[in-house]
């Protein structure tokens, strides 16, 4: 009885079995790459907002402190989005007739809130608390990037769990003195690891990597 398969079938089988390993590895690598890409994480993608509010203008231009608007950042899990009243504190005087700010005035008149698009959106099973990070010497710009150079807000980091854990495992690489937490100009010194280790000791910073630290 003659052979059903040609002799080359052996080679084809070997190559395809061997090749399949690379194809699968490649696919896994690709899905991993996609998963980390801005297409999924939305990192560095500026969001459209109902009012094209510029952090660059208000922070770098006018020198506003983060806490003027984000009032609860030191006390609460949520940093706080300013009520319309906060906008009107200044804008009832400055640019009070600008058509650009009409939605703000409209909100103030009608008592209807401005609906901002959320930029930093953690999954609902993650319980992040701003106040403890700020109190332990994690600067605003460490996670949020150079907000003073963002005309429209975007999310600087991936906000993926590996990114959280990087700091939770090695806080000394990122912490800064409490006095500099709200500084947008702060640049980590050359001896960051040395300073970081000291701050970790001084501020009693723990390496919290238990699941329930963030997931409840």
């Amino acid at each position: 009885m003659s052979q059903i398969f040609h002799r080359s079938a052996n080679t084809i089988a070997r190559v395809s079995i061997f090749g399949a390993v690379f194809v699968i590895a490649g696919l896994l690598g690709l899905s991993d790459e996609i998963n980390r890409s801005p297409w999924v994480t939305q990192a560095r993608v500026a969001r459209e907002q109902p009012i094209q509010f510029s952090h660059e203008r208000h922070v770098a231009g006018n020198g506003l402190d983060c806490r003027y608007c984000h009032t609860s950042v030191e006390d609460s899990s949520f940093a706080g989005i300013p009520p319309t009243k906060t906008c009107m504190n200044c804008h009832s005087q400055i640019f009070s007739a600008s058509p650009y700010l009409e939605p703000v005035r409209e909100s103030f008149r009608s008592d209807r809130a401005i609906q901002w698009t959320r930029v930093h959106d953690l999954p609902d099973f993650v319980y992040f608390n701003h106040s403890i990070h700020v109190n332990k010497g994690v600067g605003c710009t460490t996670c949020h990037g150079q907000v003073d150079r963002m005309p429209l807000m975007w999310q600087e980091k991936s906000l993926q769990m590996e990114w959280c854990l990087d700091c939770h495992r090695n806080p000394e690489r990122y912490v800064r003195p409490r006095s500099a937490v709200f500084s947008v100009d702060y640049a980590p010194p050359a001896n960051q690891l040395e300073l970081g280790a000291k701050l970790v000791a001084d501020y009693h910073i723990q390496r919290l990597t238990s699941c329930s630290t963030c997931h409840r």
Binding site: S72, S77, R118, D124, I132, S212, H215, R216
Partner: protein, 1023 residues
């Protein structure tokens, strides 16, 4: 030690039942052994596996952030606020502290400053927040089914009042529940001043008609009885469930359990209980005597005679079976003159209450363990008579306008009072209520009532302390409070509840609050400074600016203090001296025999039916019976056997939660109703207990149709119990969802109990026969827990099995309601359950309660079997559950020896009803289908306190973190804290000799441990 058992079948050792125990998931056993079903199962599994990954491929939708336009000053988004308020039940308030997240009340706690709470709360308070968001609440004001505006109602009622003016209100009737609100009472009295011929009737099925009548019989006037369990050494309960129901129960449970610590053996109290339907108090009793309620009077009389009550001497002797018991109890009571206490149950007739008062007086307990004060209720009346009178007048056509303010009298009225028929004779009927219920259906106007979390009011606690009821949220459905409805009948119909309340208290209410007599006098004068002749000055009063209350700065600060504290200082009622009239102790007619005896009780979960549509309460395994979603005809095992009625838990194919039981027809005084028989150990023989509050026809999605209406055979002359019941088998059977059969632990030593004398002699006796393996017996390296090391100690000796922890946990941790069908499959989701155990003979066993949350094992069997690392140990020893990682293999649950893990077999959470979204705790993930969940020691609370203390650079102090179950516990049975702190309460408790771990022999090293029960038995009665 005697063996401990959980169900009658276990005690009997039925082989079919024992066989069933070995199936973890009995409902699926057939599917696994049947080859065809198995193949289908594998096919489905394969398809599910293939698709499982795809479900994760969702991108988060874009979310909006909606800030305030003008942010309220004190509100910090992300931080909860707490407001004090009070919940009224049967006219008596319990002080509460309610957690609010951005304006949404989410969780209720007891108010530590309130004498009736001391920080604890009961199942009804815990579940009230779900009641607030119940989508079945009445949402619109209707007139015979048509939606109408409030102004239309105002027009109608004003016209009716105008018509009543010449008649002095002769056709005007108001029917309320028990009222302790000084403001509401003042409003009603004000109305009665203007309409002198109008009448105020009261009917409250949750009230205490017999207690009230008993005090009147004994003393010739209405007085309030308060007990001081902290001073009582020997307590006799005459079918009273003082630990778990009625006013002051939370306080009584706290005081009682504080005197039960065997470490202070000399201070340990002793409780004797005569009891019909087994309840918490009988379970905690050192000596319990099952007795039909009709026999209690004879026993009480015999004890009274022995205790030296002269008028009771020479009474008909109690049954010889009880003689030994009576002699021993009387001796013990006499040995503790001034520190003993006799408590009569709310369902016993007035003469028994009079006897209890007489015994307390003879023993010198008055002023020590029993305190009499003026009544807490504003206007105590004989409510049955009040309802009877109203019905008679209505039937006679004498009533033109009837206002039913709260309550559901058409459903709750006794069967022989034909309220529903008489209502038809009233031309204008108005019903203010939370639900469009049976009464609303027979009324012209249905006005949605504001929930107590939505309205301003005030009320008195069990000792008279006044609390302001403060709303947490604006009425969701434009509901009105009773104050606002009454205001509609007054000169100023559009006043808000807030204004009414402030006006009352700013005008002399403050000084008068502590003195009810002055209050009564003051209210008439205060609210209507110059009471004009009826009908004369409506227009002047409305337009007069002088009517506005003078709010002084001093009042403003006092008012704020009241709101903050939740109590008005100094408003507790003063003790009153009264003495028992000898005439009150005349022996009544001997109970007429014949047939079985029937006992009517409010249901421990839905009460008189008012909570019938509350899923948390419906699904709550009721104390002792552990039934959910149903009531039953509860009989003793012996009676069930005699009547050849009974349950067959194995008949259903072995499902854990299903008890198939015989349906019987209850024939009683010419009325019949069908119910399901359920034998309960410890129930007296020849007697059946039925719980009210079921069989509702218009309760809402959950309450309608559940159970049977026992009220349909209750008559007004025998509200608590009566004889002449006939149980007739129908041949039908019915499935009851009973969680007592879930999670059986195969007879291992779960409960350890000794007597006080044994404990004093040899405290180590509790560990006899149990062995814990040495710490070295493990393959895993020993973990050192730096920082915090969380642990919990649960005192089995204190636990009264009230279930408050179960509902508290459900509210705190967003635990879903699954429905009867799923409970029948053994899938209930409660993270903490209260197991009950029995020891001794089935006719009168000792009963023990054991709350079981996750043990947070150090060597956790669940962790090692999880294939995806969804359950892992934290640095502080918590057994973390990561919902977002869980793929639902259920291996962890299989491997958990304590059976504390719960699986979302279906999408149990209601993700669609908008109002339920408001209720959820934002600090806890809402779990979806296919996810395992379990107790986390309220890790959200731990983390919240840890974040706060870290910011202050300090450690959390002992007691700063309270788990939800600990916080609600009235008996102080659950203590949580840091085991690394040797001074913490939990560390001290775990160091006590009584401390034992559940299933310690498995070397799981649970962080939750138990303290053994110690009973203070009377050696004379120990057989």
């Amino acid at each position: 030690m005697k063996p401990v058992w959980r169900t009658l079948d276990e005690l009997a050792g039925d082989p079919a039942f024992l066989d069933r125990l070995h199936n973890e998931f009995p409902s699926e056993v057939e599917a696994i052994t049947d080859p065809v079903a198995r193949r289908t199962f594998l096919k489905l599994m394969g398809a599910s596996m293939a698709l499982a990954g795809v479900t994760a491929c969702t991108r988060q939708p874009a979310e909006k952030i909606v800030p305030f336009v003008r942010q309220p000053e004190d509100l910090v988004p992300g931080k909860p606020m707490f407001y004090s308020t009070a919940m009224t039940l049967g006219g008596v308030a319990t002080g509460l502290l309610v957690e609010s997240h951005e304006g949404r009340p989410t969780k209720i706690e007891g108010n530590t400053l309130h004498p009736g709470s001391l920080g604890a709360s009961d199942v009804f308070a815990q579940a009230a927040v779900l009641g607030l968001y119940d989508p079945d609440r009445s949402q619109t004001l209707t007139n015979v089914g048509e939606i109408r505006p409030w102004s239309a109602f105002l027009g109608t009622i004003r016209a009716a009042l105008t018509a009543q003016q010449p008649l002095q209100g002769a056709g005007l009737r108001i029917l309320t529940e028990s009222v302790s609100s000084p403001t509401l009472a003042a409003q009603i009295r004000d109305l009665l001043v203007r309409f002198p011929a109008a009448r105020w009737h009261q009917w409250d099925p949750a009230g205490r008609a017999n207690t009230r009548a008993g005090a009147r019989l004994a003393f010739g006037e209405y007085v309030e009885v308060q007990y001081r369990f902290d001073r009582a050494d020997v307590i006799l309960s005459l079918d009273a469930d003082f630990l778990a129901s009625g006013p002051g129960a939370l306080r009584y449970a706290r005081d009682f359990s504080a005197r039960r610590r065997p470490e202070n053996a000399d201070r340990m109290n002793r409780l004797y209980a005569l009891e019909s339907m087994p309840a918490a108090t009988g379970a905690k009793a050192d000596h319990r005597l099952p007795i039909r309620p009709s026999e209690v009077a004879a026993v009480a009389r015999a004890i009274a005679a022995a205790a030296g009550v002269r008028a009771a001497a020479g009474a008909a002797a109690a049954s010889p079976a009880h003689q030994k018991w009576i002699a021993a109890v009387a001796k013990d009571l006499l040995a503790h003159r001034g520190s003993s206490l006799v408590v009569a149950g709310d369902d016993l007739p007035a003469p028994v209450h009079a006897l209890a008062h007489a015994i307390n007086e003879a023993l010198g307990n008055v002023g020590r363990t029993v305190v009499y004060t003026a009544p807490v209720e504003a206007e105590p009346v004989d409510q049955i008579q009040s309802l009877r009178d109203l019905t008679a007048e209505m039937a006679a056509g004498k009533v033109d306008t009837l206002l039913i303010v709260g309550g559901n009298p058409v459903y709750t009225a006794p069967a022989d009072i034909a309220l529903a028929a008489a209502l038809g004779q009233v031309p204008l009927r108005v019903h203010l209520s939370l639900y469009d219920d049976e009464t609303s259906a027979l009324c012209h106007w249905q006005i949605p009532e504001a929930h107590f979390l939505e309205a301003w009011s005030d009320a008195r606690g069990y000792d008279g302390t006044v609390s302001i009821v403060q709303p947490l949220i604006a009425p969701l459905y434009n509901g009105r409070s009773a104050h606002e409805l009454l205001a509609a009948l007054s000169d100023r119909p559009e006043r808000s509840g807030y204004d009414i309340l402030r006006e009352f208290w700013s005008r002399g209410g403050v000084q008068a609050a502590s003195d009810p007599a002055r209050l009564k006098a003051a209210t008439n004068a205060a609210v209507r400074p110059a009471a004009p002749a009826a009908g004369a000055s409506r227009s002047t009063a409305v337009s007069s600016p002088a009517a506005a209350p003078p709010i002084t700065p001093a009042f403003e600060s006092t008012w704020r203090r009241w709101l903050h504290d939740g109590v008005m200082p100094g408003t507790a009622l003063a003790a009153k001296s009264v003495s028992v009239r000898a005439a009150a102790l005349e022996p009544g007619p001997a109970p007429s025999g014949g047939g079985l005896e029937i006992v009517f009780r409010n249901d421990p979960a839905v009460l008189d039916g008012r909570f019938a549509n509350n899923g948390w309460l419906q699904e709550l395994p009721k104390p002792i019976t552990r039934l959910t979603w149903d009531n039953a005809v509860i009989v003793s095992p012996a009676t069930a056997a005699r009547l050849r009625l009974g349950t067959d838990p194995a008949a259903s194919g072995g499902e854990h939660g299903q008890v198939v039981s015989a349906v019987v027809e209850l024939r009683y005084r010419g009325r019949t109703v069908r119910g399901t028989v359920f034998p309960v150990p410890g129930h007296p023989d020849e007697c059946a207990t039925v719980h009210l509050g079921y069989g509702r026809s218009r309760a809402g999605q959950l309450g309608t149709g559940a159970g049977f209406n026992a009220g349909a055979i209750r008559t007004s002359d025998a509200m608590g119990f009566g004889s002449g019941l006939e149980l007739v088998a129908t041949g039908d059977s019915y499935s009851l969802a009973c969680t007592q059969y879930h999670h059986l632990m195969e007879g291992r030593g779960m409960i350890r109990a000794v007597t006080r004398d044994e404990f004093v002699r040899d405290p180590k006796l509790v560990h006899e026969g149990f062995e814990a393996p040495p710490r070295t017996l493990t393959m895993y390296p020993d973990v050192k827990y730096e920082g915090y090391k969380w642990g919990m100690a649960i005192d089995v000796n204190s636990c009264i099995g009230c279930n408050a922890c179960v509902v508290g946990c459900q509210a705190e941790n967003n635990i879903p309601v699954i429905g009867k069908d799923q409970v029948l499959r053994g899938r209930e989701m409660h993270w903490i359950r209260v197991d009950s155990y029995y020891r001794g003979p089935a006719d009168n066993p000792e009963t023990y309660f054991q709350p079981v949350p996750c043990m947070q094992c150090e060597n956790a069997p669940c962790e090692v079997v999880c294939p995806v690392g969804a359950t892992a140990h934290s640095d502080e020893g918590l057994n973390d559950m990561v919902y977002n990682r869980c793929v639902g293999t259920r291996y962890c649950s299989n491997n958990c020896p304590y059976k504390v893990r719960r699986f979302n077999f279906l999408l149990y959470q209601d993700w669609n009803t908008p109002s339920f979204k408001l209720q959820r705790n934002p600090d806890v993930s809402v779990r979806s289908r296919g996810v395992m969940e379990k107790c986390t020691y309220c890790v959200q609370r731990i983390n919240a306190v840890k974040i706060d203390t870290e910011k202050q650079d300090r450690r959390a102090t002992d007691g700063e973190i309270k788990t939800a179950c600990q916080q609600v516990c009235p008996a102080d049975a659950i203590v949580f804290g840091d085991l690394n702190d040797p001074d913490s309460r939990v560390a001290k408790l775990q160091a006590e000799v009584r401390n034992y771990a559940l299933l310690a022999e498995l070397n799981t090293r649970p962080r939750t441990t138990y303290l053994a029960a110690v009973r203070n038995v009377n050696p004379e009665l120990e057989s």
